[in-house]
Every structure is written in C-alpha cells, then in structure tokens.
Point group: C2
Chain length 138, copies 2
Amino acid sequence: MQNRIADLLKKNQLSITDSRKKILELFQNAGGALAHSDIEKMSGEHFDRVTIYRTLQTFVEKGIIHTIPTVDNSVLYALCKDECSAGHHHDNHVHFICDDCGTTYCLDHVLIPKVELPLGFTEKQTDLVVSGTCKNCN
Amino acid sequence: MQNRIADLLKKNQLSITDSRKKILELFQNAGGALAHSDIEKMSGEHFDRVTIYRTLQTFVEKGIIHTIPTVDNSVLYALCKDECSAGHHHDNHVHFICDDCGTTYCLDHVLIPKVELPLGFTEKQTDLVVSGTCKNCN
DNA sequence: TTTGTTTTGCAACTATGTTGCAAACGATTA
DNA sequence: TAATCGTTTGCAACATAGTTGCAAAACAAA
Ligand SMILES: [Mn+2]
Ligand SMILES: [Mn+2]
Ligand SMILES: [Zn+2]
Ligand SMILES: [Zn+2]
C-alpha cells in the first residue's frame, strides 16, 4: 500500500518526499527494529547520511517511530503503534534482542511491570530490554 | 583505604598501576555511575583516552565494574558488588537515572521482575532502567 | 638489580552524529 | 500550468566516541 505511507505522512503534517517515503517503507517491510546504518545500506546509498538522521529525528518527534535502548549502546528505531502521537508515546512494552540473529522485536503485548522504587524516587519512564534467543533461532 | 584498592586489583590478578588505582578511586568516591568522559575530566587529564578505554574494558571483563544501558545512548559504568566476578555478573538490579541532576543510581535492592515472554523466546539477560526524579531532587 | 611481561601513550584511523548554508524540492495559490 | 514561498536536502566542515599497531615505560618476579 503506497497510499498508507503517504497518508501517514500527511496525517503528521509532513511533506511527502522521496526519503521519507523510502524510509517508512523500509520500516514497514522490516517488521523489526532498524539502526541508522541498516537504513543507510538498505536505501541503496541514495540519501545523504544527514538526511537519514534528520528524517529519523522528525519521525521520532512526530511519534511515528520510537527509539529502543540497547545494551551494546547502539540506537535502534521501530514503528510506533497507531495510538502514538507527537509527545505522547505509548511505548510501555518490552523489547527483545536476539543474541543469535540480532533481530530486535517490539513485544507489544508484554507490558513493563511496575517496580517499587526506594522512598524519594519518582518514576517517569521505564525501559526494559531482554536479550536471549528468539523464536526463529530456538 | 588505599589498600582496599590495591587488594581488589590483586584479587583480580591485575598489576597495580597508577591509572587503575586512580580510576578505581574515582568510582569509590563517586558512589554513582560514571561515564568515560567523567573519568577523563576527573582524573585531571593525566591519562590518555586510550588508557581509560582499556582500563574500563579490563574492569568490566574482570567483573569489577558493570555497564549500564541508558536511554540517551551513552555508556555508563558503576562498581559491581563483591559477589561479581569475571564472566559471572550478578547485575539483576534496577538502574535509575535522574532527569534533573543526571546522577545514575544502582538500586541494588530493587530486583528486576521476571517477564513472561511469548512462546519460543528464551531470556538470557534483562535490563531495566527507570528515569525520573531522584531523592535529592524531589 | 636484572629480566620478561604487561601496560601505557602516541599516532593514525574508523564510526557516529551535528551544524550552517545554498540549491532543490514540494505544497499552495493564482 | 506556472509562480511563489516555506521546507527539505546534500554538501562541507566539524565534533565526539571508540579502535588498532607499535615502541617506550612501568610492573612483577626472581
Ligand atoms: Mn517498541
Ligand atoms: Mn548497577
Ligand atoms: Zn534470532
Ligand atoms: Zn537527581
């Protein structure tokens, strides 16, 4: 569906450009999470590095994608669910990174449990990343 | 206790050098977690960047310090508890990052809850990072 | 103190991310 | 369809983070 992509951009008041369309397409086909370098390679070296950085930034701000913290200190991005919008993410789900194949999954149905913090500490955001072996590699 | 530091190095079969002593000392005084750049500044620009990288790497391998994943994609290090040893970390505790003062805490007494993964996924390691406001900033 | 091993500092390099600016592009309106 | 105007892009230049090879220095053991 090419129109899905255009509609998503319009809905977020973003002009429809080649790089935005292509990068969104990559996310929809990938299923899992992508790193900046993945996109650089998969886009066929068409777009400037800077453009990709700026596009990802824009998408994060608009709530189209979200970042995933990883243990090895690399930045990953994945599509947000429809309920997300600018400044109002609903990313309270667990992320899973497979040590074998490297795929990162958004486990949308596995919610992050509440943790009891010591007195005086107040929570604003919680990130939970599990690593191990995924269903394909087991 | 200067001897504590030397003993810790000996116990891990590491030769006792100025940089290792100084960096361990910084961790013991800091209480919280430190970034590579913190150490670079706090050590009085004495040691080469490369030496600091290699020292931190060595300490992680020996189980003297552990890394903390952060949402903003920076690497933090903190002292391990005594039970940790090379290849056998007991870092199943929650980490807390204060949005106000930037301090990162190891909440050694707050354990990471088990999460139910979908069928086929097996856990090996779980990291949980909470951000918000710490006891000093509240 | 001598010896052999480990660690350090330096230089050079790769990777990752940011900024300013002019040219190209996209949306809108005539 | 063409003109206009704001947005987006690519480029160059820069900044920061991290890695590697190698010779000199420091350390541990004898
Ligand atoms: Mn996700
Ligand atoms: Mn910790
Ligand atoms: Zn896998
Ligand atoms: Zn604080």
